[in-house]
Amino acid sequence: MQSNNYVTIYTVIMTLVVSVVLAVVVSGLKPIHDDNAAVFKKREIFKAVKGYLSGDLDKMTDKEVLALFDKSIKQVVIDGNGKPVEGEKAENLDMAQEEKKPIADRHYPVFSYDSDKGTFYLVSVRGNGLWDKIWGTIALKDDFNTIAGASFGHVGETPGLGAEISDNPTFPKQFEGKTIKDDGKYVSVAVVKGGIKKPAHQVDAITGATITSNGVTEMLDRGLKVYLPYFESLKK
């Protein structure tokens, strides 16, 4: 048995050494981590308009992604009433942080992508899956009604079941061409089980992942609604 003094000094020195080394490593790698995170986020955004990009997104280098983002993406942050917020960049907005604020104070990102095939408006939505958060980027055509593409992500849905929303390209692909309005009235797009009755506003659910599928429906319904006032103001 060692004396208490020995144990105390040992602990203090050990803690100091470990924390200093980790602090140095973290601050040394921070610029690389930040760059990686930015590229990752921009790739996620482009995923929703994959079909309208000139090249294959998976084969594009990080530099090309950043260059394309700077060249053809315009971004704006809106508040809950659809009014643009000055002095904020949409790419820096963290939906997870916004979610913690009261609904009235939340801000939302809107990206517009100018391509030779028209302008697309990309919006972010966030909701709950079975185990944890799920999120998506929805690209709308410039009629603010037709969905041009969608991409989804999740924290920890079950592989093979709920995780199919991002792993299986057929799921997001179903959303292309769906419309979020019926005769000018907002209806969103629903994920339904057992046969689609309204092909314009419904997509097929994932077998065995009812709660994730319902989560996507709820996320889209609540998430897309907040952007409608802003889209109305753009139409004018």
Binding site: Y6, V7, G160, P169
Partner: protein, 232 residues
């Protein structure tokens, strides 16, 4: 006399002799941490859907077991007995954090998917098990070899299970489509591969599949080597 003594000692302990080879090979076959010691099952279920992920996880665990064995073996004499476990945990947690930071810088998308499981290496029973069972009582170099062996033994099983799950669950290996249609075959029917009649079996993707593949490996291993049957 002194000269002879050192010579004998050198002959007795070559850098990589029979003992070291046994330390390295044993955990890969007859003393495998997953199939024989039945440790580290938890992460073997979670990260074996894709071969690429399993390889990254195997490298990370091998690094952590090897380096923590080495560090604890160096520290074992000065380590206060009262806080032995805490010191071991600090060493392991420190190494795991380093691995996570390095992976985040090297490959962000894989880090994004694996970060939860990388963090859980801290509680991986194999790491603590080897520290307590081996590194606390042996010299640094042998402890290091023991750590590499156990990490590889874990990694080999992980990669075998992942290969089965990815091949039959998604029809691909390490991302390359081998059997069955590509995942977007419903959209683009021209992209059929050779064995297009194969339908990917979703059962293999869910965690339960890992359990019965590991069980099958344990079964085969024990039927080949009867000595293992009553070991655990």
């Amino acid at each position: 006399m002194a000269e002879i003594a050192t010579q004998v000692e050198q002959e007795k302990e070559p850098l990589f002799g029979k003992k070291e080879r046994k330390l390295l090979i044993d955990p890969i076959s007859d003393n495998n941490p997953i199939t024989v010691q039945v440790l580290g099952i938890c992460s073997a279920l979670a990260v074996t859907t894709l071969v690429n992920k399993a390889v990254v996880m195997a490298i990370a665990v091998t690094f952590v077991t090897a380096m923590s064995n080495l560090a604890v073996s160096f520290l074992r004499k000065g380590m206060p007995k009262q806080i032995r476990m805490i010191v071991q945990l600090v060493v392991v947690a420190f190494l795991v954090t380093l691995v996570e930071l390095a992976l985040k810088a090297a490959n962000y998308p894989i880090w994004k998917e694996l970060s939860v499981y990388i963090g859980l290496i801290i509680t991986n029973c194999i790491v603590m098990g080897r520290l307590e069972a081996y590194a606390m009582a042996n010299k640094p170099w042998r402890s290091f070899v023991d750590g590499v062996g156990n990490g590889l033994g874990y990694g080999v099983i992980l990669i075998i299970v992942a290969a089965f799950r990815e091949l039959f669950g998604k029809g691909s290996l390490a991302g390359f489509q081998i059997i069955g249609n590509t995942p977007d075959y419903l959209i683009d029917t021209t992209k059929n591969s050779f064995f297009s009649w194969y339908m990917p079996n979703n059962l293999m993707v869910i965690p339960a599949a890992a359990l019965f593949i590991i069980s099958a490996i344990i079964w085969i291993q024990r039927s080949k080597n009867q000595n293992l049957v009553d070991v655990s």
